[in-house]
């Protein structure tokens, strides 16, 4: 055979050379103490930086580098002043609530004073003009702000001078000083820079009003997609927070640099603390972990490593990283379809009715049939079994609830009491319905395809099989599962059995406003029945997607929402938990934990107390110990 060796060898040598070029290329220094910067890995990226619109914890994180609100939560859950000089309270006279002679609410006034040393990152003073402008945008009908729940309660904002203003509420707002849009200004960090946003806002509105048929697209492109939101022109991204925007390479990283003029300061010289923060967006968790262990990252955010085993991570980190396990403020739960209840009549879900999910004994039997301790340990390392809709550590948490045990015997007894028995010996319980049909206990369970949820399904199949219930698991993408066409149509049996997801349960926020908001059914002040239960009659509006109805719970819910005294509100919420704990409109599985990793020399990088548990709450304090940063926490 003739030889072609030299020719082919040359080609292969060429390729090998290219490979070596890559391998021997110098290793860039990524960050850390050497550069006095911090590189954080995150699996999610915000769409844009607009303060009025959006969701996702990551946006809250990123914007916390650039903005600070009127107030913020410290690591212990104390509300501290941010842009404001102090947090308004009854005690300091900045909060006033007026009632008429019959005790009916008239109005609520909250006085705020902006700090004299509060400046936007381009040096412009932060004033009440910014507050008024932010509120104007928040209320404009053409601007797709995320929610107006709290801004709708505002009657007016009275400006006294450049630094003092009063918000007058026409409805009670006990959360008048909380972050995350509860004050009623912007959704993210309350106040936006007027001098940057006003020309953009006016131009977008003018164009949208001139072409109403294209209004949504004009607002999307010209307002939501304006330079201050996208970072295309870095000088336009102006914030009130500890860092100044530098650049944003979409789907790669966002870089910010320290502001020497920020009014909150760490102990000691500011040069001892990180001067630059880079948040790298790496959507694939194993890749993010690889980058961390390869030294490309200094820390992870509070979302990236959710569900990972902290013990294994600590071992893999080889002593170079601190692994923080944080109660997340979210409770994983199995939500029942209650639309089989007789109150829904023919409108309800027939399969849920056949399975008697509306009967409390069915739900109690199911919780007793599940070894939640073992399940939590298996699917979410570090998670704690829950029996409430409020997480431990929250001021409203009730420790005196029934701690539902794993007791399959009691579960079987309860099911037998309801008429379930295995008549054909196939291992699945059955019963005869009042109209003479024989039904088997085949319980549909739907959730997202997240690995820990799929594992939960596998375990639930085994536990429930022990008591004669055949769990039938399915998975849907989150975009479908949480679509209104699906989750809000339980009455049409889109999910006839159980839907599993996690919901917020307090910590630093207000539980009466979180998961409990999904449980109330009827607002007694409106003529419509069951306002909050999505049904055909109300075009499937409302957040009580389970269809659970409890009059006393509703009464307490509205009492809590109108109670300004935190201690009294906590007592009401504890009573609400007693009802939920017995009725089990959902089975609380466990309180989730989040995992954060950071290099051991990084000081003051720790989870905050707000519901998102963001570690970005005190970015001005981040620093490397070997560069002289002082550990405050």
């Amino acid at each position: 055979m003739p030889s072609l060796g030299p020719w082919f060898l040359r080609a292969f040598r060429g390729l090998a050379f290219l490979g070596l070029l890559g391998v021997w290329g110098w290793n860039s220094v990524f960050g850390g103490p050497a550069l006095n910067n911090l590189v954080i890995g995150a699996t999610q990226e915000p769409d844009q930086l607009n303060p009025w619109e959006g969701a996702a914890d990551t946006k809250e994180n990123i914007l916390a580098l650039l903005f600070i609100g009127l107030t913020y939560f410290d690591v212990h859950g104390n509300l501290l002043p941010g842009l404001a000089t102090e947090v308004p309270t009854f005690a300091n006279g900045r909060l006033r609530v007026f009632y008429d002679e019959q005790g009916r609410f008239l109005r609520q006034e909250v006085d705020w004073t902006l700090r004299e040393d509060a400046y936007w990152s381009d040096g412009t003073p932060i004033t009440t003009a910014d507050v008024l402008f932010t509120f104007e945008v928040q209320n404009h009908p053409l601007i797709p702000v995320t929610f107006r729940t709290f801004s709708n309660k505002i009657q007016e904002i009275i400006v006294k001078d450049a630094k003092n203003f009063t918000i007058v509420y026409k409805e009670p707002n006990p959360f008048y000083a909380n972050p995350s849009g509860r004050i009623g200004l912007a959704r993210f960090y309350d106040i936006a820079p007027k001098h940057i946003w006003e020309p953009i806002f006016r131009e977008a509105i003018r164009e949208a009003e001139a072409q109403p048929e294209k209004a949504a697209e004009i607002i999307t492109a010209k307002f939501l997609g304006a330079d201050p939101a996208t970072g295309r022109d870095p000088t336009k991204v102006v914030g009130s927070g500890p860092f100044k925007f530098a650049e944003w390479v979409k789907n790669q990283y966002l870089r910010v640099v320290r502001r020497p003029d920020f009014f909150l300061r760490p102990p000691g010289p500011m040069e001892n603390y990180v001067q630059e923060v880079i948040v790298r967006f790496i959507i694939h968790e194993p890749t993010l972990l690889a980058a961390l262990f390869a030294g490309e990252l200094d820390a992870t955010d509070d979302i990236a490593l959710s569900g990972y085993d902290p013990t294994i991570l600590a071992a893999q980190g080889g002593g170079m990283f601190r692994v923080e396990v944080i109660p997340s403020g979210f409770i994983e739960m199995l939500n029942f379809n209650h639309f089989g209840h007789p109150r829904y009549g023919e409108e309800g879900c027939a399969l849920a009715r056949d399975l008697l999910l509306h009967d409390v004994r069915t739900r109690q039997a199911i919780i007793l049939a599940i070894d939640r301790e073992a399940l939590a340990a298996a699917v979410f390392p570090g998670a704690i079994v829950s029996n409430s809709f409020v997480v431990r550590g929250d001021v409203g948490y009730n420790p005196d609830l029934i701690q539902w045990p794993y007791d399959p015997e009691r579960a079987r007894a309860l099911l037998a009491e309801l008429g379930w028995k295995d008549t054909d010996g196939n291992g699945i319980l059955d019963r005869i319905t009042p109209d003479g049909r024989k039904v088997e206990f085949r319980l549909p369970h739907v959730t997202t395809p997240a690995p820990f949820r799929v594992r939960t399904q596998e375990l639930l199949v085994e536990y429930l099989a022990e008591v004669g219930i055949k769990l039938e698991p399915t998975n849907l993408p989150a975009a479908v599962l949480f679509s209104t066409e699906f989750i809000n149509r339980g009455s049409l049996c889109t999910w006839p059995g159980i839907i599993e997801y996690a919901a917020g349960g307090g910590i630093g926020e207000v539980p009466a406003d979180e998961i409990s908001g999904e449980l109330w059914a009827d607002d007694p002040t409106t003529p419509e029945p069951l306002d909050n239960v999505p049904r055909r009659a109300n075009a499937f509006a409302g957040s009580n997607v389970r269809g659970w109805v409890h009059e006393e719970y509703d009464r307490l819910h509205f009492a809590a929402l109108n109670e300004f005294d935190l201690a009294k509100r906590a007592e009401i919420i504890k009573k609400m938990q007693v009802i939920v704990n017995w009725e089990l409109p959902f089975i609380p599985l466990y309180e989730r934990v989040e995992i954060m990793m950071s290099k051991v020399g990084l000081a003051n990088y720790l989870a905050g107390a707000a519901i998102t548990r963001t570690p970005f709450w005190n970015a001005w304090m981040w620093g490397w110990v070997e560069r002289g940063a002082v550990r405050v926490y």
Partner: protein, 324 residues
């Protein structure tokens, strides 16, 4: 040939129209809308907010009305804004994502081709040799191993254990400030692992095809004649054998070209490479219809064009093929 080309190009227009109707309908009719993610990400979000935003974004209209609105602007080159990124959808696709995809997938295709053709020829000429067996074994590994798993393995070995190459992403933040040389080397280093992973399957498949195709050709009489004429072996292989043996590979390459534009969602995910595959996947999940539409329509167009291109390439490579 010209008439054939014109006929095929004219047929492409109704095909694209039908594709656009089907894709738009599928996107619009799937459960979920852009507002849902806001609803679950904000505890204060009420149904009134939902109704307000649905109306504001024009999502309260039937899908065919929205489709007509989209089509009437798309034919004028206006594909609307990306709801997620707040920029024109076409700009996002063609300026932000397409260059990354072309770089990664194009380079992978080139590397796969550059390795597969000589390797296939080599193995055919040295049939049953040690190298032939070794390459065949590697081919089976390349075909069998899922790309995402190979990607993770490469990252583990070369990034975590050896620390030679970065774990993913386009480049190191801020490296451009260190000069052009640093920037280019940094980009190359970030390309090595994803290109290796992405080209593995094509490399393996094409090597197998090239080997068997070459084996068929190399024993033909015209090759024996060429050798009998005293032509150098290199000329026999490259000018006579390879030209005929490469025909099946042309088909495979032509079919692979649309993939260069559509990206590779798994590889892009594992290596954190912001390309078209990930853009389409994210756009569909996030109900960013304009981005999904412009990307999918562009890929459809390319598939149609590449099929035509493959037919033309056949005719050029083999004079016996005519499209009269």
């Amino acid at each position: 040939m010209l008439a054939f080309l014109m006929r095929r190009l004219l047929l492409a227009i109704p095909t694209l129209f039908l594709i656009s109707v089907v894709v738009y309908a599928l996107l619009a009719l799937k459960p979920g809308d852009p507002i849902d993610e806001l609803r679950f990400g904000n505890p204060g979000f009420t149904h009134a907010d939902y109704e307000r935003l649905i109306k504001l974004y024009g999502l309260d209209k039937p899908w065919y009305i929205r489709y007509w609105y989209w089509l009437s602007r798309a034919v004028r080159g206006d594909f609307g804004p990306s709801r997620r990124y707040g920029m024109p959808a076409a700009e996002f696709v063609f300026r932000q994502r397409m260059p990354n995809t072309l770089l990664l997938s194009g380079l992978s295709l080139l590397v796969a081709f550059a390795v597969a053709v000589p390797a296939g020829v080599w193995c055919a000429l040295r049939r049953h040799s040690f190298v032939d067996y070794a390459v065949t074994t590697l081919n089976f590994v390349g075909i069998s191993v899922p790309v995402f798993w190979l990607g993770i393995l490469l990252i583990y070995v070369f990034s975590v254990r050896l620390g030679w190459l970065p774990a993913g992403s386009l480049g190191t933040p801020g490296v451009a400030e260190q000069g052009l040389g640093a920037y280019v080397v940094d980009r190359l280093r970030h390309l090595v692992l994803p290109v290796l992973a992405l080209s593995s399957i094509q490399m393996a498949t094409w090597t197998r095809f090239m080997r068997s195709s070459m084996l068929e050709v190399i024993h033909d009489e015209y090759i024996r004649t060429a050798r009998a004429k005293g032509l150098p072996e290199r000329a026999v292989v490259l000018k006579h054998a390879l030209r005929n043996a490469i025909l099946p590979i042309i088909t495979l390459v032509a079919l692979a070209i649309p993939g260069v534009f559509s990206g590779a969602v798994l590889t892009e995910t594992v290596f954190n490479w912001p390309g078209m595959g990930r853009a389409i996947y994210d756009a569909i999940l996030a109900n960013d219809f304009n981005v999904a539409m412009v990307a999918l329509m562009f890929i459809s167009l390319w598939i149609i064009l590449c099929n035509i291109l493959a037919d033309v390439a056949y005719a050029l490579a083999d004079p016996r093929i005519r499209y009269d």
